[in-house]
């Protein structure tokens, strides 16, 4: 079924009887050519591109819970390609270009909205670093603008310019960045994959890998054994525990990142704003909620919830940056499990086990990467060669010293 304004009109006039399920609930088959572990954004996108772009068939996505129950459904919905390093920027810009045509491609309105992201700077050194980054973005074919204080004031006059502990000295603006409706992205990919014949299997947890002579044969699941030609793992925060079943230790720690939304308010914040002197970033959703967040809690966690100090820290940052939000109320807090890698950048690579492929280490930047991550992982699975923009995301870069460390924090995941 194709979605369109006409279809909405027709169904409204005929009692909505014609709407079909967004996807089927298939029983798992005994074997597939490709098994994608993880029915989150990256897993669903991988299956979608495998089937649609790389024309592969016999594909299943195995999801432990419900589709989109991972970080795709619990993030702050920001999309952007404002990276510094050559290992990253072309990949995220590729992702941005995929976002730009995504909804028409998978026939689902994921509310991709290019409202812009503004990273504020507060010192000369920060501005120099942003200039370096903005230039790197332009050189990679992305867009970037450097604003001075007045430029920022013209965009967001309500920021704290006059009594700030850390004065706003300008900002790096990417106009093509913005937000997308997170669940909509998962559903769009899921529906698109389902329509292309992919079996989306919910409530199916992978409990082990069957490996013979260094080659993967299939996966044990809570719904029985499923044979597989190739298995791609895209399980974000659960990466370490899933891959431990294949005997692998990884350069990844799982951490909790909290996210926040306020009560619905009439729109006042057009784009995404990040505070460069505190842990706070914010945008406003199409429903009117201020969606905001800050830093990870800082300790390893699989609990999908965080603690009070970070909540206070984020609110302090928000109040310092935009004191006019004081009477807005926090409505809901939630937490996601972040697969924090040792250099802050992801891994899309083969593993020492033939037939087993890994997509992980997204830190808290996974949402924006969803299209490119799915595309590049599908490319790797289908062709056994890395996608051009994902060549740097190798697993052996740590041992060999080719880390991609945007923040320069070294091998301490809770600092990335």
């Amino acid at each position: 079924m194709r979605y369109s304004a006409f279809r909405v009109l027709k169904e409204a006039l005929t009692g909505h009887k014609g709407w079909r399920p967004l996807w089927r609930n298939p029983e798992p088959k005994p074997a597939y050519d490709y098994v994608i572990v993880g029915g989150g954004g990256h897993g669903l996108a991988t299956a979608y591109y495998l089937a649609r772009t790389f024309k592969q068939a016999r594909i299943a996505v195995l999801e432990k819970g419900w589709l989109g129950s991972g970080n795709i459904g619990r993030n702050t919905t920001i999309i952007r390609s404002n990276y510094l390093l050559p290992g990253n920027e072309p990949f995220y810009e590729f992702s941005m270009k995929l976002w730009e045509g995504l909804e028409q491609a998978f026939n689902f309105n994921a509310m991709v909205s290019q409202r812009g992201i503004l990273n504020l700077c507060h010192t000369d050194a920060q501005r120099d670093a942003y200039r370096r980054r903005g230039n790197a973005m332009l050189l990679a074919g992305a867009d970037a603008e450097l604003l001075d204080t007045e430029g920022v004031r013209a965009m967001y006059p309500f920021l704290n310019f006059d009594h700030a502990r850390f004065p706003i000295k300008g900002g790096l603006l990417q106009r093509r960045a913005g937000t997308a409706r997170h669940d909509g992205v998962a559903w769009g990919y899921a529906r698109g994959a389902d329509l292309a014949g992919v079996d989306l299997i919910q409530n199916c947890e992978v409990t082990g890998f069957r490996i013979e002579n260094g080659r993967l044969r299939g996966v044990e699941t809570s719904r029985g054994y499923i044979g597989a030609g190739k298995v791609g793992v895209a399980v974000a925060g659960s990466t370490s525990r899933v891959m431990a079943q294949a005997g692998m230790r990884l350069p990844i720690e799982s951490h909790v990142l909290q996210a926040f939304v306020s009560e619905g308010l009439k729109p006042t914040i057009d784009g995404v704003i990040t505070f460069g002197a505190g842990h706070f970033y914010v945008s406003q959703s199409d429903k009117g909620g201020l969606v905001f967040g800050g830093d990870i809690d800082g300790y390893n966690s699989y609990a999908q919830r965080g603690n009070l100090p970070v909540i206070e820290d984020v609110a302090e940052g928000g109040m310092a940056l935009m004191p006019m939000i004081g009477r807005a109320r926090l409505l809901r807090i939630w937490g996601g499990i972040m697969d924090m890698s040792m250099d802050g950048s992801p891994i899309i690579d083969r593993t020492p086990v033939a037939g087993l492929y890994l997509n992980a280490g997204w830190c808290y930047g996974g949402f924006k990467a969803t299209p490119a991550s799915g595309y590049a992982f599908a490319h790797l699975l289908a062709t056994d060669t890395p996608h051009d923009t994902a060549r740097a995301y190798r697993l052996d870069r740590f041992a060999r010293g080719y880390v991609i460390d945007e923040k320069g924090m070294g091998a301490q995941p809770n600092l990335h």
Binding site: A244, L250, Y302, A399, Q412
Partner: protein
């Protein structure tokens, strides 16, 4: 979160800085095998469950602690001075 400091009793985790896996205590001799050092620096068990980890009592007595904590429930099973753990490990060698 509250950290059961072995000397000072329960203290709010906000006073601490968390570094991560207590395996960082077991630094291989830097003149030895580079592979061992690579594993030490980069690889983590990252268990969903009981995890021994290093916390620094930054706004406190400046002790490094080894805290045993369940990463699924956040339940804390114990804490001791990292110095004691490290000395014990060195003694065992």
């Amino acid at each position: 979160m509250l950290i059961p400091h072995p000397l000072l009793g329960l203290r709010d985790a906000q006073e601490f800085t968390c570094l991560g896996d207590a395996a960082l205590l077991n630094r291989p001799d830097g003149l030895a095998d580079p592979q061992a050092l690579t594993d030490y620096v980069y690889l983590r068990d990252n268990p969903a469950g009981v995890h021994r980890e290093l916390w620094f009592h930054e706004q406190g007595d400046r002790s490094w602690l080894v805290v045993t904590r369940n990463t699924l429930t956040h339940e804390i099973l114990g804490a001791e001075l990292a110095r004691d753990v490290a000395l014990r490990a060195k003694g065992a060698k």
